[in-house]
Symmetry: C2
Subunit: 342 residues, 2 copies
DNA sequence: GGACTGTTGGAGAGCGCTCTCACAGTGCAC
DNA sequence: GTGCACTGTGAGAGCGCTCTCCAACAGTCC
């Protein structure tokens, strides 16, 4: 069996044409839904395709069309923990769902170190994908540059560090954080700590800036010892909370820059014997599913993911279509979701 | 600017050849590391490639070689929660690391419903990938059939439900579960419950079978009310534990078919006021990182992931090389890791 | 009847690459 | 000198597809 069929006999356009009694060109027209085909020819081709179980060879097609109908969602993250971040899962699901109705394919690429980033850069430049959505960008990642330089259509999920001309979709992280901390202030808290995201990520930076701005607006000073850097993971949140409690046992509120970290903070507070929200009020960020399940349910800032993911793909597709189209970006509004923790 | 360069001027082999003063064939030889090139020619080509920033067009190459140098890791799972399963993250990282030294690319594909599975099937059949590693297969998934029928090299992570001739790599789930429950019995427990995985997944089925076998071997009966089905998530584990406690408040041990579920069970037990391991002993499965972090640290069954992921890729690559190669499968040994929970 | 328009289908030229084959050149044994 | 093995190189034929012509034909109008 292995000898008699060294490779599966994959039918080609020509064979379909032969069977249908038309030319290659006509088969191609049918496959690509061109209107310029008579119903009879179309029917003949359709049945020949079905009979031969013909599937177009994408490589051959791509070679001439310069399109692969594939876009990549690149997760740029050394830490495998990200996989467990519900924000990431939501984006993947959202983008995937948006593309389900098209005949575009979505591939996920993960880069755990610089070497893998370069590999992905090569992968993209070799023409495997039409465009890239880039997530979880750290300040020193070379991938945005590699891709931009190659002229690859690119949309970043999260605004870039510098003011480069690149499309992005982002939540209003700064504004959301400001609202979160303002809410804490409005409920009478005065010693307000924060657990930040990684400060080499723009979401981490922006949320910290928002927090500080709210403090300043209320005439409160921001103390370095009330700021602890987390890594967007639950374990990191717990560690950061412990550290904060060590530095200032009197703190009465904490704005945590992501829900998974907030869940970690909640357990650290429990371990330390603090009641939430009586002793320490907690506000998270994301409005992840876990925010409703934890104890107490988390007051948090909702990111409009339902708006963001379609936008992400829309911006990318427009760039792919329009070749030299202008760079376009969107910032989506966040909102405070009040639950029990603050 | 957009008008003057309607598309980035991507250099081709011919241009490199022209600049280097050699033929296309020689450039191709250099690019593909053929030894049959003089050092001078090689050097000339290398510098021309560098100067033009030439990257081979993968589509053109694939068209003739019939290889894409890309393999797909397909995650077949309606539930986005899987992303947070450390087992999945470990496999992704492992496979990715194994491939990092090769010039093979890894793409992740996720299928959330049957429609997306078919899309992936088409994607593969169109020749985007050389082979597929399939994870998280449920009993009624059509994808294995679609791929097998198309003659796509395929390795499943986890053995298939029926005895079909397909390569797979799996942990000894049945044996591991047997050891887990036997350990519970050996420490004097008698009312031993289990939280199973989804029973439309082979890992769920096998671990339950092992648990029952251990019970039977010790002359203990297995009661349906001591078996609750989970979904491999923490929340599912907590729910299942609550349900078990409701059904039999006297239970003194529980074998939980995954660590995330065990963590959920631990919190449910805490809420119910049970001490672990004094009142209820708990054994998990996976030896995920979380098993060391939870309270108390989890006694669990370690899966030899370090063996499994290289095996997964190795088996697939052998299949890709050897076209009609014989199907080959491996079951990797598990081991009991004793910590504080049992 | 002739010129024109519109529709359908085919011929053929590539897309950028690999790879076989032929060929020139070199070294060495006879 | 001839024969032979071997090495480095180039010419050229595709891989399977798309897409631009262009031909053939039918219908319409003057």
């Amino acid at each position: 069996m292995t000898d008699t069929m060294p490779r599966a006999a994959v039918p080609t356009l020509d064979e379909v044409a032969l069977l249908a009694g038309v030319s290659r060109a006509t088969v191609s027209r049918v496959v690509n839904d061109s209107p310029r085909v008579s119903p009879e020819a179309r029917a003949a081709v359709r049945s020949a395709i079905a009979e031969l179980r013909y599937v177009p060879n994408r490589m051959a097609r791509s070679l001439v069309t310069r399109r692969t109908d594939t876009i990549a969602l690149v997760l740029n993250e050394p830490n495998t923990q990200v996989f467990s971040d519900p924000f990431f899962a939501s984006i993947v699901r959202g983008v995937s769902a948006t593309l389900a109705d098209t005949d575009l394919n979505l591939v996920l690429l993960t880069a755990q170190d610089e070497r893998e980033q370069e590999k992905i850069g090569r992968y993209a430049r070799m023409g495997h994908v039409d465009g890239v959505i880039l997530m979880s960008v750290h300040s020193d990642d070379p991938l945005p540059d590699i891709l931009a330089e190659a002229g690859m259509p690119l949309v970043m999920c999260g605004r870039p560090f510098d003011d480069r001309a690149v499309s992005y979709v982002d939540a209003d992280n700064r504004g959301g954080a400001e609202v979160a901390t303002a809410h804490l202030i409005a409920t009478g808290r005065r010693r307000i700590a924060t657990i930040t995201g990684p400060l080499d990520m723009i979401a981490g930076v922006d949320r910290l800036a928002g927090h500080r701005a709210a403090l300043a607006a209320a005439g409160l000073q921001s103390f370095p010892q009330l700021e602890a850097e987390g890594d967007f993971t639950e374990a990191g949140g717990a560690r950061a909370m412990e550290s904060l409690l060590g530095r200032d046992p009197e703190l009465d509120a904490v704005f945590v820059a992501s829900d998974p970290m907030a869940v970690g903070a909640l357990s650290a507070l429990r371990v330390a014997g603090r009641r939430v929200p009586e002793d320490v009020a907690v506000v998270g960020f994301d409005d992840a599913a876990v925010a409703t399940r934890c104890d107490p349910p988390l007051t948090t800032i909702a990111q409009p993911l339902a708006d963001m993911t379609p936008l992400l793909t829309e911006l990318l597709l427009r760039q792919i279509e329009g070749a030299g189209e202008a760079v376009e970006s969107r910032v989506c509004r966040t909102s405070l979701v009040r639950r029990a923790s603050a």
